[in-house]
Symmetry: C2
DNA sequence: CCTACCGATCGGTAGG
DNA sequence: CCTACCGATCGGTAGG
């Protein structure tokens, strides 16, 4: 048959698989929120009917869980890698913040979903995700406290500074645009500088 | 009749009015989001049936519109009042940020709704709200630019600094707790200090 | 303030 | 991958 080899013509047929469903969910959850997105919209974006989605997923909740869990785990892994082998506390904080800021410019949709719909997760996933987030916040706070103790930083309340720095980075996902005047790297560089200013780098 | 004067016994009967409906909507929208909240839940919180809500409102969308519009207008009015009569650009920025930060600690629910569900607003309200938000951001950016031009501040990209400062304040609504270790005034004081550090106050 | 009810839509299943 | 369909729930209305 002439058009029998559809694998060689991927544009001729919708190639739907689990990754495609997740990508569509990522786009729609980020735009309209988890509760604001219907599975019929995800199916529509893929050019299939709603029941066909169930060939590639088990439930709507699983789509959210995968996105949020993977993202949270990646944030922690990136943090660990960013400070690995770096001794100076100033440089450790700079790299940790730059990495976190960069992620929020380059993975905007994931960040928007985590911060908007995290409470829509069911247990025990929610508890695990919140635990990993707290671990990251405590690590950043620990760097600030270490810098204060060693006289490199000067800030009254390390906990408040860590919240301010992290949330400032998170918010990048809300306004950053690829077509905008600043590159992701520029924003990350500038924000890591803000972080060092907030903690009163001497 | 013995229990005829119900106005003297407000605890004996649910006193539902438009303000009570709005208060219930405020609590539930903030907790579960606009799309995640059903009118039946708002009615349930008030001890009435869903159709009875319509004696006090026209539509669910109107509840969101009132909350978001009023909040956005108050933010702008508070900004104007905070810098009124103050000439020094350093003091103007300090007061503007302190006011904005304080609001996000004292009006957490309103802030959470504005930042989570603003896109669920219908036009033309959405456009008006976004316009007022932009006006506030431009005002803060203008203060930073003025400070840089007059040599009081030293920051490379005033637009990025204004985003960072404002979103850092917005995020207070996400973690602040009345029972927490910091008072709203303390947080506002500390964050206005962070803002001046970010812009490189000399 | 209520009961009764509307059409629409939700996430998900049966069965092919 | 589809059609047909499930019970539940949605925001909202009729009518008292």
């Amino acid at each position: 048959m002439v058009q029998g080899v559809s694998a060689q013509r991927p544009e001729a047929r919708a190639t739907v698989n689990a990754a495609a469903v997740r990508e569509a969910a990522l786009a729609l959850f980020a735009e309209r929120g988890y509760h604001g997105t219907a599975l019929s919209q995800i199916a529509g974006a893929l050019g299939i009917r709603t029941p066909s989605l169930y060939n590639h997923m088990r439930a709507k909740q699983d789509l959210l869980r995968d996105i949020v869990s993977d993202t949270t785990e990646q944030v922690w892994a990136e943090y660990v890698a960013s400070v690995d082998g770096v001794d100076d506390v100033v440089e450790r904080l700079r790299r940790a913040v730059k990495t976190y800021a960069l992620r929020h410019a380059t993975h905007r949709r994931e960040a928007l979903i985590v911060n908007r719909d995290i409470d829509s997760l069911e247990e025990p996933v929610l508890a695990a995700v919140l635990d990993l987030r707290r671990r990251h916040e405590r690590a950043i706070r620990g760097l600030i406290e270490e810098g204060v103790e060693t006289g490199r930083f000067a800030v009254a309340v390390p906990a408040l500074a860590s919240f301010g720095i992290l949330e400032m980075c998170v918010s990048i996902a809300r306004w950053f645009r690829d077509e905008g005047p600043f590159s992701a790297a520029e924003v990350a560089e500038e924000y890591s500088d803000y972080a060092l200013r907030i903690v009163g780098l001497k």
